[in-house]
Point group: C2
Chain length 704, copies 2
């Protein structure tokens, strides 16, 4: 209908409308927050010179979090802590995921294996250095390589060999800027309180991405430091980290319409892309991956039927795959529902007219669309071949993945410096090997076998076969034998493998290692080919973003890069479809109403019988609030982000987006895009009244 | 939660709260409509002495309808006209269900086979006569028989042998009153405009009972009379019925909160029953019938796969079964969601305390609960046996059903008058045989076979076998042969069969007839046994309703009996679950948004391209309204009922209830129970702007 089309056109072309934007720290002061109802000054949120609210924000390496007491207490999502809970479970033989964990006091806090906490020290514009290094480039591909090398050098220089410093340099505005983020890395993180899965993951995959939501998606961690006040690995002697900046809990009840903001680490967005890009993602990413993920999930479900205990190992693998499958499906549905691609094409037509209306613009930009389309077509030509190759990657089993990585590392290390991949870093490799240990907490042989077999079968069933090496005649038999004869399931062996030279690895009599060796050449060919493609496309994307700025005449925010961003909005419901309105608060009554007693709607019975909910009752709702909606602009990586009110006080934790706006990585749709947050009052109610973790709440309140 | 429980307690015990009630015409004047925002006087709706609005209301023998022009134009639901559309399709070999039908002008109106229209002439209290006749009874069973005989006599006396008079006497207030309804029956009804199924049944079984709804569930009929102004069978010479009372279309746009009322023919409710009754229905009716209906639907779906044309014959059978299956499932879900049975038990406990608190009450009523429970337990004891027997009924195939009915009729006819079933009526039998003709429009041999086989298999697999006669060893083979050798698929033969004596039928060499003969004895035994049971239970139910009146001290309305009732309410949305609010209007945009191009969401493309929607746009919605919600109290039978505004003008047609309140036949839940109506503006928009049936709209408007 006419109404819908115009909504989207407006949404897209006035780019910064409503509460859109994942803003850099340096951009906050330009947002005129006071005019939007905020009482906190922008300088109180981010001040380059002085400590400010942003110093309370913690990166968990994938998720976001924040300090909530002076003693290093950290609040994040339950689903962010899921992996460490699962690893702790595997280690102790107690299913903490299912039961939850409450430390009786600070001394009983449980190590969170593989969980690090990163505290941001500084943000620095390094564009000049990077561009200077790139100047000598003879072509686009070399330019990209020089940029990447410069970035690597900056990181190495900043980190040195220090275990406690982590540095990240990101490309912003499609390459118009580069920024360096430097963190202190804390390696001793402990679980203070995690609710049982039946609260923390209530609604499970069914409710995932869905509003109305009733998930108590939170966990308390604590960051520890050595007795010398420096970051340290886990030790009994370590003491809680003393911090100067932490978030205070809101003292007023949250209401519909209240302004709020989020500081967190959104991972990836692609807001400045063309219809060709979107179409490619639909046809060559989302649709095939939905199928692939569905197959993986079926494998795990079949395993669960045979071995219910497999859940303790595979639950987080399952959750991760299911989460992305639903996200992709949401994109597919969203594209269809909003005529996404057609309308992007229409918008591009308008943009083309704009370009053609001006000589200068025409000269610089008119080639853009055809050039980008040509590149996309080129990529499509390789799709079938590349997708088989990509099948041998992260999801093709822990053993193959590690063998492949070890061999690639060895080959890279032995190249002359000039030819070496600029992303290659011995420090990152060491960190990778360290983390690989935790992958084994999710290792389940039967699943590992099946996914490798799946990749091999895909290769085998490709129209022209898979033409780099001869595939085994009986894939199933080959895999069975391979897993019988491989030593890769032993982490110590993996550690050794990563220390070997390429020739040593090549001579190993291990079928899975040999598979990795055979796949090296085609994978390298693809990588080199994509380097050239990327360099050309990146150049075009930079110009496209430039053009959009000229056309819209609005301030732009860069695509998400996993670094600290600011987004603001207000508490508001939305209309997901004709005649339906979603209110922005759910309640404890709603939690109880959803209970069926069967997973994932199997809340602890105790929840229904708490007689004194204390001051966690919202006077307007006349109930304990559970989750709320806010119009802020987030994506994956923002999980665990604190949500603050007009005064900068903590009102909740962002943990999800809504299904109706699943296309949000491509475009912000102000009418329907919402952040789903768990209300701080529910967090405290569960901790205090349900779990009896009153001491944790008191620790926070004493620091108000 | 406490909140929910109290809601239901209030809803039930203050019986007449909010907009509850299916009121008798004689009760309207006590409702104080003016205080509820109505401008129309109660006398203008129903006046025993003078023509009033209720004279515009038409009964379609199962559905409701109303005159909307002076020339006998009638508006009802599409799903009420579905059967006649299907029969017309079968007759003409054109799929009117799929394509819809628009008469170019009055002369092109299409006969609606098997459709009659009943216009109410009078309502009369016949309680005195009935009670007088019952006085001589020696026991409860005989009392019931005497009452039924008296009712039969009243009907026969009123109707005589006239084809154009239809009389119905109903028991009200569980037997505290009896009323006689006399109708003129019109037998020439024609289709003026029926939208295509993709509008009239848009959303199909998926959206059935569901809000938000986007179904254009309406059809225009016209009632014809003979040139002598008397009811007549179809003839080309017939002329449109001239009427003095018809509904005028609302001149103002309908708004949220507006009051409205409905006049229609609700079929059956059971609002004054105990938990034991509800529990019995859950365990012994809803749950097994859901299973049985699911099996039937699977059979039809399998047939569709083999023969898509079967749809033209089986569509209305399928729709009917699917509709009830969903209704039963909704009851099951509703019982669970609202703790329905437990809370009824709690209410009964309060009622018991009330009874025990007073000597007189105790004496008269304290036996009630135990006695009713004893009867229910007795019935349960027969359940397994009876359910097998019931399997040989309406749904066990057209051929068996008709043979069974013919033989039962013959046996009944030959009994001495004193022993004869008081429900037996030669006139009703003639009408039955007449209607049987139309059953053959839905006759599909393969389905007929399968359902009979299904009943036989159920009998065969009963724990102790089925002990009235020997079942065939190979049921499938027996059915195949039976259908090869039977003559019952010939309507003329059926007509003959209904004229035969019992002994003649017994001697027929027809396997299906023989099956009916064999089943006569056990079916009779069950009938006689249930007569006694019913008499006892009815007595208790009458007392129970009496007791409720004493306890609640509120005016009561009688359970629905398929006769004219009045219900009022106001346009209002509802909250189906935590954080969700359903607004009371859907729109044309919503219709379009639901379109997937695939049945049942396959709206005609033209709908999206109508550029001039005329004055059917609602200024507040800024869109053409599609359906709306109103808090009126309806049930099956109300389908097609006109909804009127505060002035008594037509605003829409009721066509459904909402899934959340599917337990409404047992109890009105004011917070969630809504009538779903198609907006008159959508009816006219579709007729005028979509179909081009402007002349129909003009006919109505000329009569304003």
């Amino acid at each position: 209908m006419i109404r819908r089309i115009s909504t989207i056109l407006i949404a897209c072309f006035s780019l910064v409308l409503a509460d859109e934007g994942m803003w850099l720290m340096s951009q906050i002061e330009d947002l005129d927050l006071n005019s939007k109802g905020f009482e906190i000054e922008s300088k109180a949120i981010y001040d380059e010179e002085n400590p400010s609210l942003h110093n309370a924000i913690v990166w968990l390496g994938g998720c976001s979090a924040a300090f909530v007491s002076s003693q290093g207490l950290v609040l994040t999502n339950h689903h962010c802590a899921y992996g460490s809970l699962q690893r702790a479970s595997a280690k102790d033989g107690i299913d903490y995921v299912r039961s939850g964990y409450l430390a009786d006091d600070q001394t009983k806090e449980l190590p969170a294996p593989g969980q690090y906490a990163y505290v941001l020290n500084s943000i620095e514009d390094v564009s000049k250095d990077v561009f200077k290094a790139a100047r000598k480039a003879s072509d686009l591909t070399q330019r990209e390589i020089l940029i990447k090398k410069k970035i690597r050098d900056i990181i190495e220089e900043t980190e040195g060999n220090r275990e406690d410093i982590h540095c990240k340099v990101v490309k912003l505005f499609e390459g118009q800027e580069y920024r360096k983020y430097t963190y202190t890395k804390y390696r001793d993180v402990r679980i203070v309180y995690a609710p049982p899965e039946s609260i923390g993951k209530y609604g499970g995959d069914i409710d995932n991405w869905i509003w109305p939501r009733h998930t108590g998606d939170f966990t308390f961690y604590r960051v520890y430091m050595g007795p010398d006040s420096l970051p340290a690995s886990y030790s009994e002697e370590n003491i809680p980290l003393m911090v100067n900046n932490w978030l205070k809990v809101a003292t007023e009840d949250l209401k519909v319409g209240d302004p709020g903001f989020i500081l967190g680490f959104p991972g990836v967005t692609t807001r400045y892309r063309t219809a060709a890009d979107i179409e490619y993602s639909l046809e060559y990413l989302y649709l095939p991956y939905i199928q692939r993920y569905r197959d993986y999930l079926c494998m795990i479900e079949d395993i669960y039927k045979k071995d219910p205990d497999a859940r303790m190992r595979l639950a987080s693998v399952y959750a991760g795959i299911a989460n992305y499958m639903k996200k992709y499906q949401g994109n597919v549905d969203g594209f269809q529902k909003t005529n996404f691609i057609d309308e992007h094409l229409q918008m591009e037509d308008q943009l083309k007219s704009f370009v053609n209306s001006d000589k200068k613009l025409k000269k610089r930009y008119s080639h853009l669309f055809d050039d980008m389309n040509t590149l996309m077509e080129e990529k499509k030509g390789y799709y079938e071949y590349d997708s088989i190759l990509d099948g041998f990657g992260y999801y093709s089993g822990t053993l193959f993945y590690l063998a492949n990585k070890a061999y690639e590392n060895a080959r890279e290390r032995e190249k002359p410096e000039a030819d070496r991949d600029p992303d290659f870093s011995e420090k990152r490799n060491r960190e990778f090997v360290e983390r690989a240990k935790y992958r084994f907490y999710s290792y389940y042989e039967d699943y590992d076998k099946q996914v490798l077999e799946y990749a091999l079968n895909k290769a085998k069933n490709a129209p022209d076969g898979f033409y780099f090496f001869e595939l085994p005649a009986d894939v199933n038999l080959w895999v069975e034998n391979a897993y019988k004869n491989t030593k890769l399931a032993d982490y110590d062996y993996i550690r050794d493998l990563f220390g070997m030279r390429a020739s040593q690895i090549e001579s190993l009599d291990d079928p899975i290692v040999q598979l990795a060796v055979k796949l090296y050449a085609p994978k390298l060919e693809k990588k080199e080919r994509m380097k050239i493609w990327d360099a050309r496309m990146n150049e075009l994307r930079e110009q496209y973003m430039e053009l959009l700025a000229i056309y819209t005449r609005k301030p732009q925010y860069p695509d998400a890069t996993g670094t600290l961003r600011f987004t603001y909005g207000h508490v508001e419901g939305y209309s997901p479809k004709d005649a339906v309105y979603y209110k922005p608060f759910t309640t404890l009554s709603g939690v109880i109403a959803k209970n069926t007693g069967e997973e994932p709607f199997d809340m602890p019975e105790k929840l229904a019988t708490i007689k004194d909910p204390g001051n966690y009752i919202d006077p307007e709702l006349n109930d304990v609030p559970s989750c709320f909606l806010i119009t802020t602009d987030i994506t994956n990586g923002n999980s665990g982000s604190s949500v603050m009110n007009r005064k900068g006080e903590l009102i909740g934790l962002a943990f999800d987006g809504n299904y109706e706006a699943m296309t949000s990585d491509w475009m912000f749709l102000p009418e329907i895009q919402r952040t789903i947050a768990v209300d701080i009052r529910y967090v405290l109610f569960i901790t205090d009244k349900f779990a009896g973790g009153t001491w944790i709440v008191e620790e926070m309140m004493n620091d108000q």
